[in-house]
């Protein structure tokens, strides 16, 4: 019973991931792609626990799930830091002042 439930959950998760993968391919902005990768990453942590239940080694696979969740979070933060052109508050004020002077 438990094994059938785990197989069902895995297959259903896999099917529901297909629209998210579509968003990786078709996303107009890089942020869309990164968002979809983030969603898939958290769902992979769940899939690892499901695989653990199937093989009766949940105690081992939970560690992988922890590592994967950590890595996913760090990668999301790093990519968002890499993609944005961060402007500090002082620079922003300088920009606004320059605009005022021009007008």
């Amino acid at each position: 019973m438990i094994e059938y439930f785990a197989i069902f959950m895995g297959v259903a998760l896999f099917v529901l991931m297909i629209p998210v993968v579509y968003r990786i391919g078709a996303g107009p902005t890089p942020f869309d792609r990164m968002l979809a990768v983030n969603v898939i990453g958290t769902k992979t942590a769940v899939l690892l626990v499901i695989i653990g239940t199937l093989f009766d080694r949940v105690d081992m696979f939970v560690d992988f799930a922890i590592a994967y969740a950590l890595l996913n979070f760090v990668s999301a933060i790093v990519v968002s830091r890499y993609l944005n052109r961060t402007i500090s508050l002082d620079e922003m004020e300088a920009k606004e002042n320059a605009k005022k002077i021009k007008s």
């Binding site: 438990i2 902005t29 983030n38």
Partner: protein, 137 residues
């Protein structure tokens, strides 16, 4: 699923032969997992249907948090076959993952949102939304 289909995974075939009825705790876990799947449908459909990045972020940031939490805690209950020390430790470990995801999922979505906003990706307003739908009709 017949045995022939599972022959390529021998371990799986063995575990499928010894099926037992679930305890009440495991039944509750199964219910939680199905509920999580139900909420993940909202995320998956929203990722396709919503019009721009910020609205997609609503679907991803919220649906992802709750569905992952529900599914993981459901599997944490499913893996508790007996109330021994080891299974309690396993349960607490999985609850640790749940807590971690509960904290980090909104944070990472906020970081992505901020990156997009500072990259001059303007959010859609109501007027932009009405235009393409009017063309379709």
């Amino acid at each position: 699923m017949s045995l022939d289909q599972t022959m390529f995974i021998p371990v799986l075939a063995e575990s499928l032969q010894t099926t037992s009825s679930p305890t009440p705790l495991q039944f509750f876990g199964i219910l939680l997992g199905l509920l999580g799947l139900f909420f993940f449908v909202g995320t998956a459909v929203g990722m396709i249907r919503f019009p721009d990045f910020y609205t997609r972020m609503h679907a991803a940031g919220k649906g992802d948090t709750l569905s992952t939490m529900l599914m993981l805690s459901g599997f944490g209950l499913v893996s508790m076959e007996d109330l021994s020390m080891g299974s309690w430790l396993l349960f607490f470990k999985i609850m640790g993952v749940v807590l971690f995801i509960f904290i980090t999922c909104p944070t990472s979505s906020h970081a992505l949102m901020r990156a997009a906003f500072e990259d001059d990706e303007m959010p859609m307003t109501e007027k932009d939304l009405k235009k393409p739908s009017a063309k379709k009709k």
